[in-house]
């Protein structure tokens, strides 16, 4: 386990009588896509918040790059290189595509407390921003106001902003949500490439995408990981079939 980028060790989180995280242990190794699946209400969002920050576990720990980040803020974890994309696009909607990407670069370079030189004339910030936009194919939209982007383009921009952080790991919450078949396919190819740069913890409902992409899959049900394994393992696992996939789908 020593070579894991991200290491979640036995975290518990309860809300009253509800055990949202009931001793969850999972890790993310270099170069892999580890998919997290589970029915609605399984505690995926709670788990993500404990990994990305914003919610501290009652017990257990989250290690990132060998450091205990269990009680660090979202911003501190991001500065260590944990990049996150959201299920519902979290972007500055009044900003242009480029401004959003530059915002990411400002965070990455720690230049928030620079007060005088215009951000949009800073060659370093612009270079990072354009490089990220190039990679997701949004350079031509650089001047477009984000609220005018299509849903799929917003998802791409989410990924671009994450890329500006030069991350050590990605935490992606349903990146395929609401994407058309074409968009999903493109993103799938893109993520397959991206994982060699930094591993991806992928929370996704799109089973086709998960089975196509994931090196490992963990199944979360009622706050517990009931199975972790390769695509074939998970397909064959009887518990997973009854709990999640449903008998008829698994046939």
């Amino acid at each position: 386990m020593a070579d894991s980028i991200l290491d979640v060790r036995g975290i518990h989180k309860s809300f009253g009588a509800l055990k949202a995280s009931d001793g969850i242990t999972l890790d993310l190794k270099p170069g892999e896509i580890h998919a997290l699946i589970g029915p609605n209400g399984a505690g995926k969002s709670t788990l993500i918040k404990q990994i990305a920050g914003g919610l501290n576990p009652d017990s257990g720990s989250v290690h990132f790059m060998g450091r205990d980040v269990s009680v660090m803020t979202v911003a501190a974890r991001a500065r260590l290189g944990l990049a996150r994309t959201f299920q519902i696009s979290a972007l500055a909607m009044g900003y242009t595509v480029l401004e959003n990407a530059v915002l990411g670069a400002v965070g990455e370079t720690g230049s928030v407390f620079r007060f005088f030189k215009p951000a949009m004339k800073d060659a370093d910030l612009l270079g990072r921003a354009y490089a990220a936009l190039d990679r997701v194919g949004l350079r031509d939209q650089a001047g477009v106001i984000t609220s005018e982007l299509s849903h799929g383009q917003r998802r791409q921009l989410e990924v671009a902003v994450a890329l500006t952080l030069a991350p050590k790991a990605f935490l992606m919450d349903e990146p395929m949500a609401g994407m058309g078949a074409e968009g999903s396919k493109e993103l799938t190819t893109f993520l397959q490439d991206l994982k060699h740069e930094a591993p991806i913890l992928l929370v996704e409902h799109d089973m086709d995408a998960v089975f196509a992409l994931a090196d490992r899959i963990s199944v979360l049900v009622y706050g517990k990981i009931i199975a972790t394994g390769s695509v074939a393992d998970i397909r064959a696992n009887a518990d997973v079939r009854t709990a999640y996939l449903g008998e008829e789908d698994a046939a």
């Binding site: 911003a75 991001a78 972007l91 242009t96 400002v106 230049s111 620079r114 005088f116 949009m120 902003v161």
Partner: protein, 328 residues
């Protein structure tokens, strides 16, 4: 619709031409009105940085306006009576030099905003509004009950403070001084808005989660913005006290906070020149409507209601489309 740049140039031109005309026509009162507009605009520029760019709806900016006023009042009253401000552990004399007073006002305004911000920025929405309001009112009642500097009656300063090379008692010279300060502050705020700091501040206003996930310490950033905002409004407070040669607890009152906010809403939230247009219009209304009726604020209320309902971007928003602050 005209370009914001051109509109701003026109606004500045009007702001210079009116007092210039008043000099020729020998109407010193008009110059005083223009000076008041410039100073209140400056207070609005301060609040607009927190409220417009940062999304921090402070209903307690009278605290900074007031502390700037009292910085002037306290320093000048000691200079006037030739008594030191304090003797233990070391002697601090009063001062009637404007640059010294401004410096003290800016520093105390900034520090006060740091303190109030550190506590209030932990809250959100209506709670933030209420907490800032409460701090402002605390200072208001403190000023009323503190007898050393006039208590409820306030402090009168008999001679306007001095600025090297100028006779500040000549209305047009004092106007020029205030106008140049406004220009300098506008330049600085404009640079701030375009800087990485401004980009991140406005980004966090639009989507706080996004700013955090790219590694920005939003609380710390907002605290710095709040301190800058308070420092600017405190500078305006010092000038306002010098304009009237009088400072009283009213400067700390929540009505003052509301007034500063009205300038921004009238002129245009998050627009660089919004507070200038708003404060000027306010002064015009106060002067002309106030001359007709004691209840002129009823009309102000109607105008404000109209603006909020039909012209969300304020007057500037009606006349000029918002450009991307950062361009590109």
């Amino acid at each position: 619709m005209i370009a914001e740049r051109h509109l701003n140039a026109i606004i500045l031109a009007i702001l210079v031409l009116i007092p210039a005309y008043a000099v020729i026509a020998d109407e010193p009162f008009t110059i005083t009105l223009a000076t008041k507009a410039v100073i209140l605009a400056l207070a609005g520029v301060g609040l607009n940085f927190a409220l417009g760019q940062g999304g921090l709806v402070s209903f307690g900016h009278a605290a900074y306006f007031g502390i700037g006023g009292y910085a002037m009042g306290i320093l000048a009253s000691h200079a006037q009576s030739y008594t030191p401000l304090m003797e233990v552990p070391f002697v601090i004399e009063g001062s009637n030099s404007m640059p010294v007073i401004w410096l003290v006002a800016v520093i105390s305004g900034g520090l006060l905003a740091l303190l109030i911000g550190a506590l209030s920025l932990r809250t959100r929405g209506v709670y933030f509004i209420m907490v800032t309001l409460a701090f402002g009112q605390m200072l208001y009642y403190f000023a009323i009950s503190w007898p050393a500097y006039g208590g409820e009656d306030g402090l009168s300063i008999y001679v306007r403070n001095q600025f090297p090379g100028l006779n500040t008692l000549v209305p047009i010279q004092f106007f020029g001084l205030c106008f140049v300060i406004l220009l300098i502050v506008l330049f600085i705020v404009n640079r701030l808005n375009k800087s990485p700091f401004g980009l991140a501040l406005m980004g966090a206003h639009q989507n706080e989660e996004r700013a955090k996930t790219v590694g920005i310490d939003v609380y710390k950033m907002r605290l710095v913005a709040f301190a800058i905002s308070g420092a600017i409004t405190a500078l305006a407070g010092a000038l306002f006290a010098d304009l009237n040669r009088f400072v009283s607890p009213v400067m700390f009152d929540w009505h003052t906070s509301g007034q500063i906010m009205v300038f921004i809403i009238l002129g245009g939230v998050a627009r660089l020149f919004g507070p200038i247009v708003g404060a000027s219009l306010y002064i015009l209304l106060e002067h002309f409507l106030g001359g007709m009726s004691e209840y002129w604020q009823i009309y102000l209320g109607a105008i404000l209601l109209f603006m909020v309902l039909f012209a969300k971007g304020g007057i500037i928003g009606r006349l000029s489309k918002k450009e991307q602050t950062h361009g590109g």
